[in-house]
């Protein structure tokens, strides 16, 4: 009897198929990307000119907070999990994830969590307005009533990530095809294996810190309240112990994606595979030792400040090794520049620029002038937008033909790339300057000294947003009426996922392949 996917809505509600779940994660993250993007455009619209024109300062604070939360937890992280779900089993020759029912649960609690989070915008007192980093006591004693729902949503998202990470580790360690040793796995699988360990280590810390907040707000404890013997700075330590590995959680899979795409379009193997693995592991381990570089101005003792400065500078070494390896992969290859390659090359260049501003920020004395200014905003948007987001975009263009069996329109894809590239640079490069000139973060209004840079940023942001609408059109058009794709899709592509038909059958590798 033919056994394919079920029909109707229940197919999606009950599916345990990694491809279905991957698809749901990806569409969900795309929707969240637009939601977070709308919040960003409201911010940039207000910051277009000095003066308050569009929103009240309190609502502006809600926008900056929600933009951060939705993008970090709703767009970037679920997108990478979606890519992992789709690609990891196929890349290691496994029929599905190790724990398919838990996989379903991991996804379905997310729309619930984000519906609750988004609903706080309509609650009395408004949505969370204390920044996505929610420092106490602004987020405890002085928070609006919606903070409790925010805490609940964070717990749910955390549970989703932890369950997903357990699934990934169990799958990769137990279900590789015979002959696929760890050092033969594609780098995307390696980066996700390491990311999954990071998630298991730090998401519980996030759960801990929001639970301490909950206790302080509702149950009379004083973790972060000096009156009862607590310390607001304790919040920052616990939060950033989660927060710093979190940003590496958001970039390590990106490194994996780019390490798959560049060799394909350079028609040359990835340079220095083992170094890439060791560098990724080093970055992950070091990421646990640098958290207080987010806290250089709180008044830490000298030795603490110095140690965190040195450790943060040290992360530049393995990160640099990776960049050099990608460039050397390109070198003496025979490159073509289809859309995935364009996004990947832009990733290498622009992520490196973000890395440079990160190195500048690592210098603790200099950070006294950069901290909480737009210079920091420029840094993290460079590593997140042309970093994480571009890698996700590249991955979608790269693997979409395998997912749905149809090619996207190459001309439109390149158009999307150039619009996004120009838009994001126009948005975020000027922020280096406004930050150095003295503009603080999280302010709805500013002195006319910063006006010209802000106007450029705002124009760029709308261009970038428009480019993403084009992206949506490109994807839908490809799925509905794109040219049929071959199984190989890309001439230089290697890996088990390219040995199955396009579109990939509902069940692949039900018998494990032999890997040599």
């Amino acid at each position: 009897m033919a056994h394919g996917p079920a029909h109707g809505l229940t197919r999606w509600l009950y599916t345990t198929n990694h491809k279905d779940i991957g698809t749901m994660y990806l569409w969900f993250s795309f929707a969240m990307f637009f939601l977070g993007g709308i919040f960003a455009l409201i911010i940039r619209a207000e910051l277009f000119e000095p003066g308050l024109q569009i929103v009240e300062p309190n609502f502006f604070n809600q926008m900056t907070t929600m933009h951060g939360l939705v993008m970090v937890f709703g767009a970037v992280m679920p997108a990478f999990v979606g890519l992992a779900n789709w690609m990891v089993p196929m890349m290691i020759g496994a029929p599905d994830m190790a724990l398919p029912r838990m996989n379903n649960l991991s996804f379905w609690i997310l729309p619930f969590a984000f519906a609750m989070l988004a609903s706080t915008l309509f609650m009395e007192g408004g949505a969370p307005n204390f920044g996505w980093t929610f420092y106490a006591p602004l987020s405890t004693t002085y928070a609006p009533a919606s903070v409790t729902f925010f805490i609940f949503a964070v717990h749910i998202m955390g549970a989703s990530s932890i369950m997903g990470a357990i699934n990934i580790i169990a799958t990769i360690l137990n279900m590789r095809a015979p002959g696929m040793t760890l050092m033969k796995m594609p780098l995307f699988v390696w980066t996700w294996l390491i990311t999954a360990y990071l998630l298991i280590a730090v998401m519980p810390v996030l759960a801990g810190v929001v639970t301490m907040m909950l206790m302080d707000i509702h149950f009379g404890t004083s973790f972060f309240d000096a009156a009862g013997g607590g310390d607001p700075v304790l919040f920052q330590h616990v939060f950033w112990f989660f927060g710093h590995p979190e940003v590496y959680i958001m970039i390590l899979p990106a490194f994996g994606v780019v390490s798959a795409i560049i060799p394909t379009f350079a028609r040359k193997p990835l340079f220095g595979y083992s170094s890439m693995v060791y560098a990724t592991a080093s970055i992950a381990i070091l990421s646990f030792m640098v958290w207080a570089h987010h806290m250089f101005t709180v008044g830490m003792p000298f030795i603490g400040e110095w140690v965190f400065m040195i450790a943060t500078m040290a992360i530049a070494v393995p990160t640099g090794v990776k960049v050099f390896n990608w460039v050397t992969t390109m070198y003496k290859g025979a490159m073509t520049f289809e859309t995935p390659m364009l996004f990947s090359i832009a990733f290498v260049i622009l992520f490196t620029i973000g890395g440079f501003s990160g190195l500048m920020l690592a210098i603790a004395p200099a950070d006294f002038q950069y901290h909480d200014t737009y210079f920091v905003v420029a840094h993290f948007h460079y590593v997140l937008v042309p970093g994480a987001i571009f890698s996700i975009t590249a991955a979608v263009y790269y693997w979409l033909p395998k997912w749905c069996g149809r090619m996207y329109d190459e001309t439109l894809g390149k158009t999307h790339f150039w619009l996004a590239f120009i838009g994001l640079n126009l948005t975020f490069f000027p922020m280096h300057f406004s930050g150095l000139a003295g503009m603080p973060r999280r302010i709805p209004d500013y002195n006319p000294l910063f006006a010209n840079w802000n106007m450029l940023s705002s124009i760029g942001s709308f261009l970038f947003g428009a480019a993403q609408v084009l992206f949506l059109y490109i994807i839908i058009r490809a799925i509905v009426s794109g040219r049929k794709a071959t199984d190989q899709v890309w001439e230089g592509a290697h890996g088990l996922e390219w040995t199955v038909p396009s579109p990939a059958p509902y069940h692949t590798f039900t018998t494990p392949p032999k890997v040599d």
Binding site: P50, N61, W306, V317, F324, M335, P440, L449
Partner: protein, 380 residues
């Protein structure tokens, strides 16, 4: 008269100067870089910043140079055949060790500057800086306890923020009561907060320190030239985080002494003025001015407030209830309402309470004298 050869020099000189004018204007409208500032610390930080920047530029030129070359030269459309090499341990070692050496070179001056910043001892003047939602309080510590303390609030009018008036040069960077410090003296700042976390930053001094409620932290500066230096709060602290700037006037010692003495005299004047009796008219009109400056931003000029956020004064149970409770609310604050007891003088407090009880249709008919406020504050 200049000789012929010298006249030839002057012309290009004038041309260069003329060209610099729009560049100077361009530079202020499109500011590119961090300030060098007016202290040794700010200059050291600027130097570090530029040093790391140039290292990054150098590395970027090399890496991006190779990338752009390879994108141009190693493309399939040029008919090249791809190479197969994928490993080289020597190369990996080289590009691991060289960056480590570069980082060591960067770390040495960074450490020196950090040590310098942490040397807070032996100050000539101590100032307690307290962050409030949404203003700063500055208290000059005197060993005899004759501390001078005052609040420093944004003085940009709401009309400029609401775009009904043109913005001034120091829009959002001006305050009613700036901090004065003497030049060439080591000033220590003791930074704390009274509600949430704030952060006190003056870029040209190179000083930024978070203000943590319940905790105190030191920072120091030694300003080398007189001037006015402006900064902002740099830690999200609520609604008006962007509206609580910092302004520091660095002046010669003599001018500082005069200013400090002037502040002491003002404090004595305020204490004296609190003993006077004012007419209803004086209280009402004074109160209206205080209301417009301090209360109207939240409670609105017509006293109607904002439903769900700021209660109306018109018909308010407090403004039409017992006087003592009304004074208590204004002096000590309440839920969501900041206290004004330290920020306004007894005359201003008496005036604004009188105004609120008689304007907006409240018509209570009472008048509150400054001495009533003083007595209230002393628990009588």
């Amino acid at each position: 008269m200049l000789g012929k050869s010298k006249r030839l020099l002057v012309l290009p000189l004038h041309a260069i100067m003329a060209a610099c004018l729009p560049i100077a204007a361009w530079a202020t409208e499109w500011p590119l870089n961090m300030t060098e500032g007016v202290t040794s610390v700010s200059r050291e930080i600027h130097g570090l910043h530029m040093q790391i920047f140039w290292w990054c530029v150098a590395i970027g030129v090399v890496v991006f140079g190779v990338m752009f070359y390879t994108i141009f030269a190693h493309r399939k459309s040029r008919g090249v055949k791809p190479a197969h090499f994928h490993e080289n341990v020597t190369l990996e070692l080289i590009w691991t060790i060289i960056p480590i050496l570069i980082l060591v070179v960067m770390a040495v001056p960074a450490t020196k500057t950090l040590v310098h910043i942490y040397d807070t001892d032996d100050a000539d003047l101590d100032i307690l800086v307290t962050g409030y939602q949404w203003k700063w309080k500055y208290e000059y510590l005197d060993e005899n306890g004759e501390n001078i303390s005052f609040f420093s609030l944004l003085s940009t009018p709401a009309s400029q923020i609401q775009n009904t008036e043109e913005k001034s040069e120091h829009y959002l960077l001006e305050v009613d009561e700036p901090m004065y410090i003497p030049v060439n003296k080591k000033v220590r700042f003791l930074v704390t907060a009274a509600d949430v976390i704030h952060s006190w930053w003056v870029p040209q001094l190179g000083v930024k320190r978070d203000a943590i409620p319940g905790y105190i932290h030191e920072a120091w500066t030694r300003v080398e030239q007189p001037g006015i230096f402006r900064g902002q709060c740099t830690e999200l602290c609520g609604k008006d985080h962007g509206f609580m700037p910092v302004v520091v006037h660095a002046v010669e010692q003599a001018e500082f002494d005069t200013w400090l003495e002037g502040k002491r005299a003002k404090a004595r004047e305020i204490a004296e003025a609190a003993k006077q009796t004012l007419s209803f008219q004086e209280l009402y009109s004074r109160g209206e001015a205080v209301y417009t400056k301090n209360c109207a931003a939240c409670h609105l000029p017509d006293g109607k407030g904002v439903a769900g956020a700021f209660p109306a004064i018109a018909g308010s149970p407090i403004a039409t209830g017992p006087v003592r409770d009304h004074i208590n609310r204004v002096v000590n604050g309440g839920v969501g309402m900041p206290p004004f007891g330290e920020q306004l003088t007894p005359v201003e407090l008496a005036a604004v309470v009188t105004y609120q009880r008689n304007a907006f249709g409240n018509n209570m008919g009472d008048q509150i004298q400054p001495i009533d406020v003083v007595n209230f504050k002393q628990g009588q």
